[in-house]
């Protein structure tokens, strides 16, 4: 339990541990608010706040790169994507009956218990015998300066030693982003689509999902402002 011994030294306790506790408490509050809230816009805003909070927490844990990814993806991109998805959907969510939430609750509890079960297997901070510090990782640390000639080992591993792997990841993420953008219709055609399968014209009013929309007025009526 060297982790807890290190955490109890006064120089370590004061700066980071109390800040961590504050951030985790705020994260719990935000998570419960997301679950309880019905306004989808409020939920999107709360998710942005959740990302900002966890990014700040990651910075206090000295994981600046993870924090930056969290802030860019969580607070920046996913807010925009969620808002554009809301352009196609309702503004309010309908409450789910309690009976249908029990399965999800069981899954979450099981995953949480499994994570706590895995915690003792984690290597202590800075352990010499841990997997990261004993095998090929030390080779990267030793040879990056002469082989890749840049000071940042993480960048060298990502962009050089496993460059093909990173390239594959970029292709996957790019195609996923392209698919999401096509689905959301960010070119201004959201909700105004037309498809012609086998010569039969289907648009947003004749599609099977048209009955789900409450706005049953025609295109001309929609263009005119309400009296």
């Amino acid at each position: 339990m060297s982790l807890f011994a290190a955490a109890l030294e006064p120089a370590f306790v004061v700066p980071t541990l109390l800040l961590d506790i504050c951030f985790l408490a705020l994260l719990v509050v935000v998570a419960f608010a997301i679950v309880r809230m019905r306004s989808l816009f409020g939920i999107v805003m709360l998710q942005g706040v959740y990302s900002l909070l966890s990014a700040a927490w990651f910075v206090t844990l000295d994981a600046v790169d993870v924090a930056f990814t969290e802030a860019a993806v969580g607070a920046g991109v996913s807010t925009v994507l969620m808002l554009s998805a809301m352009l196609l959907a309702d503004r309010k969510s309908t409450p789910v009956p309690m009976r249908r939430q029990l399965g999800a609750l069981a899954v979450v509890l099981l995953a949480g218990v499994a994570m706590f079960y895995a915690v003792p297997d984690m290597a202590a901070f800075g352990d010499v015998n841990s997997a990261a510090n004993s095998y090929v990782g030390m080779d990267f640390m030793a040879k990056t300066a002469e082989e890749v000639k840049i000071p940042n080992v993480v960048t060298a591993v990502l962009a050089s030693y496993r460059g093909y792997d990173t390239f594959g990841e970029v292709v996957v993420i790019f195609s996923a982003g392209l698919g999401v953008l096509l689905l959301l219709g960010l070119n201004g055609n959201s909700g105004h689509w037309v498809a012609r399968p086998n010569g039969q014209v289907i648009n947003d009013r004749t599609a099977p999902s048209a009955g789900l929309s409450k706005d049953n007025r025609s295109e001309e009526q929609r263009a005119e402002p309400d009296e």
Binding site: P15, L26, V29, V49, L53, V80, S84, M86, L87, G188
Partner: protein, 111 residues
């Protein structure tokens, strides 16, 4: 850094967290959507301030660069939300100068 400065920075970090909690109250309880939008924007600013203070607490002032990038990120989300309110679409050009292109009656969709 003298001990007094250390405690001062730590105290300001905690005060920033307290103000984050206050923003959270407005975000969760806020009666209108504009309250929520302002609360999120202000929350992002608080995060930036916290990062600045934290960088000085751990003695690495070069982390202020990261805080600047967070400020830019915060701006993107706010612009997207405002466009969502005003134009009901995210691809509309913001009105600039004296051009009237892309200008929509403001407040038409502000529910």
């Amino acid at each position: 850094m003298s001990p007094f400065m250390g405690y001062f920075m730590l105290g300001s970090a905690f005060l920033i967290i307290v103000s984050m909690a206050l923003m959270l109250v407005r975000l969760i309880g806020g009666p209108t959507l504009y309250d929520r939008l302002l609360a999120v924007n202000s929350f992002g600013t608080k995060t930036v301030l916290f990062l600045c203070v934290f960088c000085f607490i751990i003695g690495r002032p070069d982390g202020v660069d990261i805080a600047l990038l967070y400020a830019l990120m915060n701006f993107i989300a706010t612009i997207a939300a405002l466009k969502f309110f005003n134009y009901r679409a995210l691809d509309v050009e913001l009105p600039s100068g004296n051009s009237t292109a892309g200008r929509v009656k403001v407040g038409e969709d502000a529910r």
